[in-house]
């Protein structure tokens, strides 16, 4: 029996403790602790709601090349088609019966394309067949018997504009996830998902017991909600505080949102693999990454593999460790079989299937750096950087991967020769290709190494353009038909100008010779400096400036006569715009690299429509095009025809600057305009002229692609007459050296002459008798 003293002591202690607990200071501390707890819970709740109801993920902008359009009579080469399909990860099979596959039997092509978004809107999956006869599409038909006039293949994804943390994700609504996938997921990761409230005490006890027995963490008791909270809101660290936060947040998530919302978010968020620097998140992106198809088109064994990867995308990486992945996939299938979700026969059959993976998709984010640079610059002037990186914009561009490939090959093929010729590896290049009729930028090269991401010479290399200025001078003259025509004799005699400050300008021809009087078109064809400078001075700097502005040059131009010999610096992109207007018969078509930008749901945000403006009369544009064809036939560009067939009528102009520091060529066929610059970054001299440098690359590129020649529609105001090639006087058709030239307006004031050098034919000689 305790004595009284002890009891009293205990009572005193108890009273003291009671008194301590009820002491006003302590009560205040309780209050503070309670307030802290409430604040902390409010904070957690706000965090849960803010992220779940706001923008859940930062979605990168995705950039696409143009879609390949297939229709009857389209010129299409089988090799190019297969190259395109390979880039799009299509599988070549005997019987294309699943999306993303194709077969070729003789000239017949059968193709099963996936559902996809393009700049033309949502394209349904399609099973089509056509034949390629003589490199032309024939008998295009849909195999479901529906009418088909034209089919757009999926556009190739060429890159993205990513947030700092690079994640690839295809957001899908709950309804888009197949029920079999959801069944396999819940069975494997959280069987009690539909019934628990965010936490599963039974799972926690089971895991704790297993961990205690093992003496380390060997099993997790996390529900799917907890996994989502961990990945979505918290870090992966294994601390008690993180665990407690996770538990409270899971409860809150379940309290605020439906099971369907939580599951949808989980399925879009779960980490399932790594593609270089990009993390693959969500089943939507993973089905493309591993199987090259939409999740809706995957089969049960493929769902099982995707679910299998959740445990460890790296450890079970099916490309690197196929045996591990196969084993775990089959384990998931056995779970389905145990729960009688699939029959034993199906289970046996499915476990025998292989992983059926596609080749690891090439990430095209580095593939076309110069083109992407152009796209980003255009977008950055219209969208803020944060939106570009996080809003999931879909950007449909004009890049033609086949043209880009040919341009790269031409450079790869010819630049080493030019380096050899120049005894220097310092030679650099830049090039740009556009479509003549639309101004769409089809390909860009900013460096001799196409994958180089640094200085983009096509957009940023401001280099003197040399004789590329001359078409603008001659056009200024030809726009005045009462004063100039193609055969107008120009003086090609040396001259000098002394400026007020005492400086002397004394231009010279490339061959350091005078050529006396030469017809205007010959002066341009042979790129004579003296006659061109004289003509420019005669016309006036302001008039030539005006023409350059009309052709699309927006840069401030220098006001000195040296402008007439191309001292003005422009970038290859600016030169391309200038020649675009010439190639489009005097209609200025703004060059563009983007067709449309949509939001993640496919709603159009910005369109970049085709715009056109007639800046030069068709008559003057025709005369200039005629003269630029002469450049290629008999002038400084004639060596192009050592590589090109005569039937391919092209027009163009060479450009060379002092000491051969810059070698330029700008030229076009009926379909394509290409501008090439070759030179050195340190502005050092080379041994390359426009003809022996840039033109070599240009010709090699042009010969690689099927295209239409230039076909000029002669404006009604023009009439052809025969002229002597040397002195530019009107003469007879039968005379030796006579050439037909288009003339705008009257010819009464043009001198004519009888045949000076005899007749080109016997009939001409006979006719001369009469």
């Amino acid at each position: 029996m305790p004595n009284k003293k002890t009891t009293a002591k205990a009572l005193t202690k108890s009273n003291k403790f009671k008194a301590f607990l009820t002491h006003p200071t302590c009560l205040k501390l309780y209050g503070i602790a309670f307030l802290c707890l409430i604040s902390w819970l409010i904070y957690l709740d706000a965090q849960v709601r803010f992220k779940f109801e706001g923008k859940r993920w930062a979605l990168p902008a995705e950039v696409y090349a143009r879609s390949l359009e297939i229709y009857n009579d389209k010129p299409l080469n089988l090799g190019n088609l297969e190259q395109e399909l390979k880039l799009l990860n299509f599988r070549k099979t005997k019987y294309p019966n699943s999306p993303g596959s194709y077969a070729i039997k003789g000239s017949q092509v059968e193709l099963y394309s996936q559902k996809h978004q393009s700049s033309q809107g949502l394209q349904a999956a399609a099973h089509i067949r056509f034949s390629l006869q003589g490199d032309v599409v024939q008998n295009l038909q849909a195999l479901d018997q529906s009418k088909l006039d034209l089919y757009n293949l999926p556009p190739l994804k060429i890159g993205g504009i990513y947030p700092r943390i690079k994640e690839q994700r295809e957001l899908l609504p709950y309804q888009s996830f197949p029920p079999e996938l959801i069944t396999a997921l819940l069975l494997t990761e959280d069987r009690d998902f539909k019934h628990h409230f965010g936490l599963s005490p039974f799972s926690i006890i089971r895991a704790a017991w297993a961990n205690m027995k093992a003496g380390k963490v060997v099993q997790g008791g996390s529900t799917l909600t907890q996994q989502l909270v961990k990945n979505f809101y918290l870090s992966r660290e294994r601390t008690w505080s993180r665990k407690i936060n996770e538990a409270f947040m899971s409860l809150m998530l379940e309290a605020h949102y439906s099971k369907q919302d939580i599951l949808e978010t989980y399925m879009n968020d779960v980490f399932l693999g790594q593609a270089g620097e990009l993390a693959i998140h969500g089943f939507g992106a993973a089905s493309w990454f591993y199987f090259g198809k939409d999740i809706s088109q995957c089969e049960l064994q493929e769902f099982a593999l995707l679910v299998a990867l959740i445990k460890g995308p790296s450890f079970y990486n099916p490309r690197r460790h196929p045996e591990r992945a196969l084993k775990r996939r089959n384990l998931i299938l056995s779970l389905l079989n145990d729960e009688e979700m699939i029959s034993t026969e199906t289970f046996k059959r499915l476990t025998q299937t292989n992983l059926s993976l596609v080749d690891k998709p090439k990430q095209h984010s580095n593939r076309y750096p110069a083109f992407l640079d152009l796209v980003k610059r255009q977008l950055q002037s219209e969208y803020n950087d944060e939106d570009l990186r996080t809003e999931g914009l879909q950007i449909y561009t004009t890049l033609n991967p086949q043209i880009q490939e040919q341009l790269e090959q031409a450079v790869e093929h010819k630049l080493p020769l030019l380096e050899q010729k120049n005894d220097s590896p310092k030679i650099q290049t830049a090039a740009i290709v556009t479509a003549v009729g639309t101004g769409e930028v089809l390909a860009i090269l900013g460096d001799k190494h196409p994958q180089y991401k640094g200085f983009n010479r096509a957009l940023d290399a401001n280099r003197p353009i040399g004789s590329l200025i001359k078409p603008a001078i001659y056009l200024t003259a030809l726009m005045q038909p009462e004063r100039y025509h193609l055969a107008t004799p120009l003086s090609d005699q040396a001259f000098r100008i002394e400026f007020e400050n005492g400086e002397i300008w004394e231009p010279q021809n490339f061959d350091h010779q005078d050529h006396g009087e030469v017809p205007l078109y010959q002066a341009l064809a042979h790129s004579y400096n003296l006659s061109s400078a004289r003509l420019g001075i005669e016309l006036g700097i302001e008039a030539v400036h005006n023409t350059l502005e009309k052709l699309g040059v927006t840069k401030k131009l220098n006001p000195y006569p040296s402008l007439f010999l191309g001292a003005q610096a422009l970038t290859p992109f600016e030169v391309s715009q200038l020649f675009q207007t010439i190639a489009s018969n005097g209609f200025k078509i703004k060059q563009r690299a983007i067709r449309e930008v949509t939001n993640a749901q496919g709603l159009s945000l910005s369109r970049y429509p085709f715009t056109i403006k007639q800046e030069i009369s068709p008559e003057a544009a025709y005369l200039l095009q005629h003269a630029l064809q002469e450049v290629m036939q008999t002038g400084t560009g004639r060596s192009a025809y050592w590589q090109l067939p005569k039937a391919l009528l092209v027009a163009g102009k060479t450009g060379t600057t002092n000491e051969n520091r810059d070698s330029w060529f700008a030229g076009f066929s009926g379909d394509y305009l290409a501008v090439v610059w070759v030179g050195r970054d340190d502005n050092g001299p080379t041994k390359l002229t426009g003809s022996s440098g840039a033109l070599i690359v240009w010709s090699d590129f042009i010969k690689r692609i099927p295209q239409y020649p230039i076909t000029l529609d002669k404006p009604a105001e023009l009439e052809y007459y025969w002229f002597d090639q040397e002195n530019g006087k009107r003469t007879d058709e039968q005379c030796k050296g006579a050439q037909p030239l288009p003339i705008w307006g009257s010819v009464d004031h043009i001198d004519s002459q009888a045949c000076q050098k005899g007749y080109s034919t016997v009939s001409g000689w006979l006719q001369s008798w009469f």
């Binding site: 809107g121 008999t634 060596s639 005569k646 003809s691 009439e719």
Partner: protein, 169 residues
């Protein structure tokens, strides 16, 4: 002597008939959509002395490109007609954006089809972008064969669009 003269006259007349001489002006083919300029007297291109090229390429090599015959349809008129019909339908339903989409696709497939530019001009006209409408009609006028319906229609549209707006108050 007279006989010799007569023979000369006959031979010359024959050649004149064959070569069709008379005026200095050269008859070019009637302005078809894809007319080609008269073939110039061929001048042999000389190799510039300072340059050496690997002259191994034969321009008659069938492997070398890839020139599409300019006289063939560029491309099938069928697909352009189909797109034009679709664009017409969108136009009649006042779906301007859709019409623009289709017309731009048509321009990509054949940038030389005047009818497409005419309709594009109408679309711009309807949405009030007068400057672009005018430019499209001008392009149509440029591409259309002279004397054709499209040519006349483009001229008419240009007349209408450039005339000052009448006060409808």
């Amino acid at each position: 002597m007279v006989l010799k003269c007569l023979i000369n006259v006959m031979i010359a007349a024959l050649f004149m008939l064959l070569s069709g001489c008379g005026s200095h002006s050269i008859k070019t083919p009637p302005s078809t959509k894809k007319s080609v300029i008269p073939v110039a007297v061929e001048t042999k291109a000389d190799t510039p002395e300072s340059l050496t090229y690997p002259n191994t390429l034969n321009t008659d090599d069938p492997a070398l490109p890839n020139v599409i015959d300019a006289t063939s349809n560029q491309p099938s008129n069928n697909i352009i007609d189909v797109l034009l019909q679709k664009a017409q339908k969108a136009f009649s339903l006042q779906q301007w954006l859709r019409a623009q989409h289709i017309l731009e696709q048509a321009i990509r497939l054949d940038p030389n089809e005047s009818k497409v530019f005419m309709l594009y001009g109408d679309v711009y006209s309807q949405i009030g972008v007068r400057e672009q409408a005018e430019s499209m009609y001008r392009r149509a006028l440029f591409l259309a064969e002279e004397g054709s319906e499209i040519h006349a229609a483009a001229l008419h549209k240009l007349d209408t669009i450039s005339s000052p707006l009448t006060d409808t108050k």
